[in-house]
Symmetry: C2
Subunit: 442 residues, 2 copies
Amino acid sequence: MSKLGPISGFPEWLPAQRMAEQYLLQKIQRTFELFGFAPIETRAIEPLSVLLSKGDDKEIYVIKRLHEDADAPDEKWGLHFDLTVPFARYVQEFRHQLHFPFKRYQIQKVWRGERKQEGRYREFYQCDIDVVGQGHLSVSYDAEMPILLHQVLAQLPIPAVKIKLNNRKLLEGFYRGLGIENFTQVLRIIDKLAKIGADRVVGLLISELHLSDENAQKCLLLGQIKSDDLSFIAEVEQLGVQHPLMIEGLAELTQVMRACDVLPPGSIEVDLSIARGLDYYTGSVYEGVMLGHEHIGAVCSGGRYDNLIASDHKQQGFPGIGVSIGITRILGYLLGRNLLQMSRSTPVAVMIILPDEAARTEAQRVAFRLRERGISTDIYHQPQNFGKQMQSAQKRGIPYVWFMGDVPQVKNLHTGIQQPASIDTWQPEACYEKLTITLTRS
Amino acid sequence: MSKLGPISGFPEWLPAQRMAEQYLLQKIQRTFELFGFAPIETRAIEPLSVLLSKGDDKEIYVIKRLHEDADAPDEKWGLHFDLTVPFARYVQEFRHQLHFPFKRYQIQKVWRGERKQEGRYREFYQCDIDVVGQGHLSVSYDAEMPILLHQVLAQLPIPAVKIKLNNRKLLEGFYRGLGIENFTQVLRIIDKLAKIGADRVVGLLISELHLSDENAQKCLLLGQIKSDDLSFIAEVEQLGVQHPLMIEGLAELTQVMRACDVLPPGSIEVDLSIARGLDYYTGSVYEGVMLGHEHIGAVCSGGRYDNLIASDHKQQGFPGIGVSIGITRILGYLLGRNLLQMSRSTPVAVMIILPDEAARTEAQRVAFRLRERGISTDIYHQPQNFGKQMQSAQKRGIPYVWFMGDVPQVKNLHTGIQQPASIDTWQPEACYEKLTITLTRS
C-alpha cells in the first residue's frame, strides 16, 4: 500500500488548506494586477539545454515517454525549476509580439529534485513578477518591487515580512575599489554572515581569498551595515573606498529607499549583507523574511538582471528586474505548525435540510435559485434527522442551514439565530459569506 | 536557435490569450463553488503503478532526476495524464479526513505523450468536478452534473454546447437481454456510429462479434435513439428487450432527464450512442459538443463510476460521479481560428501620462492611491510626447489615460471624452473596467 502514501517533497493539502492556498494566491494575483502586471504561463518543460544554462543540474527532473519510439524528440526536456529561466526564453521567443517594458506575472508550480529535507519542497508554487525593458529599464522599477512586495504580503494572514534591500553594484564597486577582483567569491562568503558569524567570515576571506586583514575587515564592515533610513550612505562613505560603480550602486539604492517612504516604518531596511546566490543579478537585490520566523529563510527574493535575456542586437539588450514569492514555503510552514485557522472546508454558505426523499425536487429548485443569485449552496445528501444534518454542516464550517416550507427559515449556526427567509432576497451576512483565515499566533 | 521555438503540443499564450484563459477558468471555478464543490490539487506525479492501473502506458511521461543517486526512489514516478486517477488515489489516502459525500473540484494541467497531431495537446488544463459517496451515492448527483455543465458553459463566450446523456446500465442490460455477453466490445463499436455510419456498425457487429443480423439491427436501433424529451422511453420499450439492468438504467436516465427540465430547450438530449471509452463507467455517461464545431469532438465528458475507488471494506465502496471540461481544447481551437476578440492585453485600466522625469514621484503617488482604491494602474515608462504615450496605451487596450495637474484629467480612449477627475473618487465605467471577450462568429 506504499503507493498510496505521501511522496516526500510533494505536498498535498486537504480542502480547507487548499482553500487557504487559493485565498493567498488570489490576493497575490489581484495585487499583481493592480500594479499593471499581465499574466502569462509557460509550459512545464524546457529543453535541457535551456535549463542547464542557468541552473544546478542536480536539481533537474528530466521527462520522457514511458515507451519512447521513432517519434522521440531530438532534444531532451526537463521540468522547469523556476519561472525566471522559462520567462527569459519566452521573452526572446515572443519579443516581436510583446510591448516593452513588459510587465508580467506568473503563478505556477516548479519542480526541483532536492534531497529529502524538512521544509524543502520538490514541487511548489512560485509567484513571480518581472519587468523587462528593451534597451533601457528605469530605476523606478527597482523601487516598485519592494513596494509591491510589501503591499502583497501585508494583506495576507501571515506573520509580518520585512524586506531587505541591497545593490550588487555597490558591493562590486566597493570590492573593486579595494583592488579585489574575484567579486563573486567575496559575495558568496559575505552571504554567510548571518549563518556563520563575523569571525568566521573574516577568516574565510583571508584564508580562501587571500585578502589582507584590513581588506577583509572592510568587507565585513560593509556587510554589517543595516539601516531603515538613509544613514547607510554616510556609513559606506566612512569606509573611505572610492569606485564609480560603488557610487552608482549607492545612488540607485538611495533612490529605491526614498521611493519606499510611502511604506510604514519597519517594513523595509537596507542590509548590505544580502547578496542572493544567483549569478545573473547586476543591481538591486531583495529578500524578505517573516519576523519571528527568520530561521525558515527568505520567503521572497529577487533582483535586477541586465544581461540575462540574450538579444539579437548587441547594442539593445533586455534588462529586467523581478521578485518571486515562495508561497508554498510560507504556507507549508504555517500549516505544518497549525498557525492558520480556516473557518470552513467547503465554499458552501448554506446547506438545505432534506426532510425526506419526496422533498428533493423542491430542494433542487431552491438550490438552483440561490446559486443563480451567487450564493454557494448545497443540499444534504440524504433524509436524516435535522440534528444530524445540522451537525454535519457545522463540522464542515457551513454557516447557514435552510429549512424549506411555506415560510422558509434560515438558521445561522454560529449565532443560533433562526428567521424567515425568501429565496429571492436572502443573503448571507458579509462576515459569514466567505472563508476567513486567522493567524493563531506568530 | 531551435531551442527557442515552440514545442509541439505544449501551447503557450500571449498575455491577452492567457487573460482569456484565466477569464474562462475563473468563471468555471466560481460556478463549481456555487454548486458546493471544494477545491483540491494533487501533486503532478503519481507512482507509475497507480498510473498504469488505469491508463494507456504509451501516453505516460516518466520523470527522473538528471543525475540519479543513492537517494533515488524505489518506485518510478510519472506525470498524471488526467485528474480522475490522482483523485481516486487522494480519496483513498485521505478518506479518514474527508467528509462524504465529498464534492471536489480540481483545475490543473495534465500531460499526455501523444503523437504530434493538430488539436492534440501534450500539456493541457482539465477542469474536473466529482462527487464521491461512502457506500451509497444518490442518483440526484447524476442529474446535478449536466445541470452544472450547462450553467458553466452557457455563461462563457464560446459557441453553445449541447450535452448528451446516456446510461451504461441501459445499454448493458439491453445487450444482456439480447443474450450478448461481450458488452464492452459492442459499446466500442456502437461508439463509432457518428464516425463510420450505420451500415459499417452493423457489419462490424456481425463480422467481429458474430451477432445475428436481428440482434445487430436491434443494437443499431438502440444506438440511434435520440430525444430531447422523455420519448426515448417508449422507443426503447418498442424494441421489445427485457432485462432488470436495462429497466434500472432507463429509470435513472428518466430521473436525470426530468431534473434537467430546469434547463432551456435544446441544451440537453438523450443520445443512446454515447458510450465513452473508459472502462470504469457504470451508469450515467455524458458528453458535450460545441454546436457548429462538432468535428473537434467532445469538449466535456464524464460519468458515474461505482467501483473505481478501492475500499478496505468490501461491503462499503466509494461510488463516484464526475465530469471534466477540456478548456484547452476549446480555447486552443477558438484562439487558433481567431474566433475570440479580447479587449486588452493587460489588466491596466488607467495609464498615467508621464510629462517629464521630475513628475515621476507625483505619478507614483497617484498610482499608489488609485491602486489602493482597487484600480489597476500603470505609469508610462518614460517621458515622451503625449500622443505617443496615448498610442501605446491604445495598442494594449488600456481604456483610460490620466493627466496629472492641479486639476487632473482622465481621457477615455474609446469615446475620446476627457474630463476632470479626482484620485479619491474617480472610477472607470463598469464596461471598461475589466477585460471583455467577444466571440466573433461561431
